[in-house]
Symmetry: C2
């Protein structure tokens, strides 16, 4: 049993894992019971899952030295895995609505993981109203990123409702190839050096981070106000030091409806997503009297994983979008956001493949440095909020005949980043998960509600539906904690 | 808002609190719904609890410096308490039996607490079969001991089923007096000194602990083999270093039945309790081929809290009982245990009040030192297992008309002490909670089952029931995880 040292980008998630910022990512899937399901359906499903005691990588890996996770990050195969610990059966209290589910997911996602065991949990949740149940899978980010986690969960699903007893994620693992693409070798080496410097010389790190920020700002010559630069967003309540507890809320929309709005406004679906988030943030922050007088910026991950790569590793680049939260008019705001993202993408796509990696490093290094040095929440934020749009499965998927209705990402936070909004598309739906710091965002569920109202508003101002007299129409389905 | 430094004995629980040994104590109470309860009973009860946002000490206290809890233990009043964090509504999956409840309590008791908040949680648990529900309260041991916690829970109960809307524990707190009796001043000062020495000079601590153990052994001249001395028990699987996860199992018996057996054997009820635990431990350890060839010893807390003291603080002494696990005959074993406990109690009761304190200090100091120095599980154990018998309420108590059926303590473990068995009497019942280390005791629920079978066996050998041909009768109600 040879210990395998983690790649620096994966190990970074162990460096920055603290009681207040557990680096765990989750995935919530909601299923309908098959129409003819017997009362014992869920019990039998659970018993089937429980019976599979084969563990594929990374589900069979544990830290070689849990207490030294930050300085000696290496995996070993766990000699014995206590499946009853990792696979859990839970239930919602009555009435078992989206609210109760949101509360439970908030709690489960807040509990730290046991670093002496393989870093994953799968929860089967019963008691969801309207003959539904849920599955929540949690993993450490050093093992898998959010997108990879969702892919692992999807491997236990089938497009065929008649297919039964598909092996659970832990029996399949991350697929054939274990090697993970975490950037070119030069990036890894440089990052490791940066990380070591930051840890050993925490007192000089602020200066290093500031200097790097300057380098980035200077290397990217700004030609337009809409070109949002790192460390250029305002300070805001979204960029406080975070505490250990999370809130989780969701919304889902018909993707076709979002597409129609995008077409009418001549912007992308992602711009609509950024636009309704910007509207919701502007309203929420105005209500708590905390809207900065400069526009918020959003870090928007862009996957650079080739389409043919089934690997679950981390391989992302970033653009930074100007959310134009100082603009009052929703359509004007949307168009300005579109201008901002179009410019950023143009910038990124003009670079050759190797150039993208360098760009990512230059962009991300100061951010990771901030985290490593524990400075998040104290320096100016690199951007104000992470807003991520992930493509998901296009067609209906089934888990032993039970149709998956929605799938949501449950994200991680770090100091200085108290809110993460990630959407995933699935079978004609646009599903949004809001993960926030419990203390920094006291009524976070309102953000979820406001995105729905923002979508209604866009439909109205674009003339897609008749404007309503007397207030906004509620839309979408909300669950919140 | 002035910070209040903790007394050394209370602060000790913060010193020894680690990820693997969270120093949290719990209390599980099971209730029957009133016969005419509407469907909304539990929802309304929860809403009533949720509506009470008054917080009495110690429920309003949080650590002044959570990250320095071990070196600067002081309480401050929390300026704002997020009740939705502390009061939680949960549910059991079907069939909602004792097994599912045991699994949930095991999990809840394993989750670490958030040291940035007041150190308590109250969980209302629905979905327990046969029209029952449960309440689980968890607190940090630095705020309250297990007995004090149960008393706090009892304050929200009434002997009158018609009484409603009694204030929840957090609104009542520990009662009129906040001062806690944690031994005479000299003990506190001496313990603080010991603690500081142990922390600063961990390398010499083993010698100190061994020396203190010798002092104790020499100061208590052994005159009888049955006089169990500290650090004299064998090494066993019960005395390993513990990991972070817990198991919890329960049993309950008719107290009158236990009394009859005790009378027939001419021993005390507590001796019967020790006897059936000894029998169960002997059988369990024989099965896993781990029974030491010398008898296990039990640390048995003895409360020295005066009967008129309603205070919830820690004030306990200890006796050590020889469990005679090398003796094969159950009645012979019981009588030897009786001999051992009678002698230890005689020894303790011959001391004046001040002498009891000194005795407790001499007895406990090396044990606490071991914990403080992180040596638990590496040195010879002071005793093999903690077995505690706590007097509880004598008559039926009600929670808004719902009768409390059972009440169980959920205990803490420390390195070197992987099992705690604590019973509490209530309204003619003898309720036993088994708290064990998940990894050290893989099938701990068997211990609970075996105590029931040991009670049947005693009844048979004492001629109280006709001896059964062909195996033991099952007794008691078990729930396990």
């Amino acid at each position: 049993m040879r210990a395998k040292t983690l790649k620096p980008l994966d190990a970074a998630w162990l460096y920055v894992d603290t009681a207040d910022t557990p680096m765990q990512v989750g995935c919530l899937a909601i299923f309908s019971l098959p129409p003819d399901a017997p009362d014992s359906f869920l019990r039998e499903l659970f018993a089937h899952l429980r019976s599979v005691e084969r563990f594929a990588p990374p589900f069979n890996l544990k830290l070689a030295a849990p207490r030294l996770k930050a300085v000696m990050p290496a995996w070993v195969e766990a000699p014995r895995i206590d499946l009853d610990y990792h696979l859990r059966h839970s239930a919602l209290p009555a009435p078992g609505g989206e609210r109760e589910l949101g509360v439970l997911i908030s709690r489960l996602h807040s509990h730290p993981m046991d670093f002496n065991r393989p870093l994953w949990e799968v929860h089967v949740i019963e008691g969801l109203e309207n003959d539904r149940f849920a599955l929540y899978m949690k993993m450490h980010h050093s093992l898998v990123d959010g997108v990879g986690g969702m892919r692992m969960l999807q491997r236990m699903l089938s497009p065929d409702p008649a297919e039964e007893n598909l092996p659970p994620p832990w029996a399949v693992g991350s697929g054939a190839r274990r090697e993970r693409t975490s950037g070119p070798r030069g990036f890894d080496a440089q990052l490791r050096k940066l990380a070591e410097t930051a840890r050993q010389q925490a007192q000089i790190a602020p200066a290093v981070a500031r200097a790097l920020g300057r380098v980035v700002r200077e290397s990217v010559r700004r030609t337009d106000y809409q070109e949002a630069l790192p460390f250029d967003g305002p300070r805001s309540v979204l960029n406080a030091k975070v505490s250990a507890q999370r809130r989780f809320a969701t919304q889902h929309y018909d993707l076709e409806r979002v597409r129609k709005i995008a077409a009418a406004a001549e912007v992308t679906v992602n711009d609509i997503f950024l636009g309704i988030c910007a509207t919701a943030l502007r309203r929420y922050l105005l209500e708590i009297n905390a809207l900065p007088d400069r526009s918020l910026t959003a870090g928007v991950p862009v996957s650079v994983r080739p389409a043919d790569d089934q690997n679950a590793g981390n391989a992302i680049s970033f653009i930074i979008a100007n959310l134009n939260t100082t603009v009052a008019d929703p359509l004007e705001r949307l168009r300005a956001i579109h201008h901002s993202t179009a410019m950023a993408k143009e910038h990124l796509q003009a670079l050759p493949k190797a150039g993208i990696d360098s760009y990512t490093m230059i962009f991300m290094a100061p951010f990771i440095l901030q985290l490593l040095a524990g400075l998040g929440g104290r320096l100016r934020p690199m951007f104000n909020v992470t807003i991520s749009n992930v493509p998901g499965p296009k067609n209906s998927l089934y888990f032993n005949g039970a149709r998956m209705e929605q799938i949501y990402p449950v994200s991680l936070l770090s100091h200085g980043q108290a809110l993460n909004i990630t959407s995933v598309s699935y079978d004609g739906q646009f599903n949004i998960g809001f993960t926030g710091c419990r203390d920094a965002l006291p009524s976070m569920q309102r953000l979820a509600v406001y995105t729905g109202e923002a979508l209604d508003e866009l439909e109205q101002v674009l003339g897609l539906v008749p404007a309503k007299a007397g207030g906004r129409k509620k839309t979408g389905t909300r669950k919140a904690a």
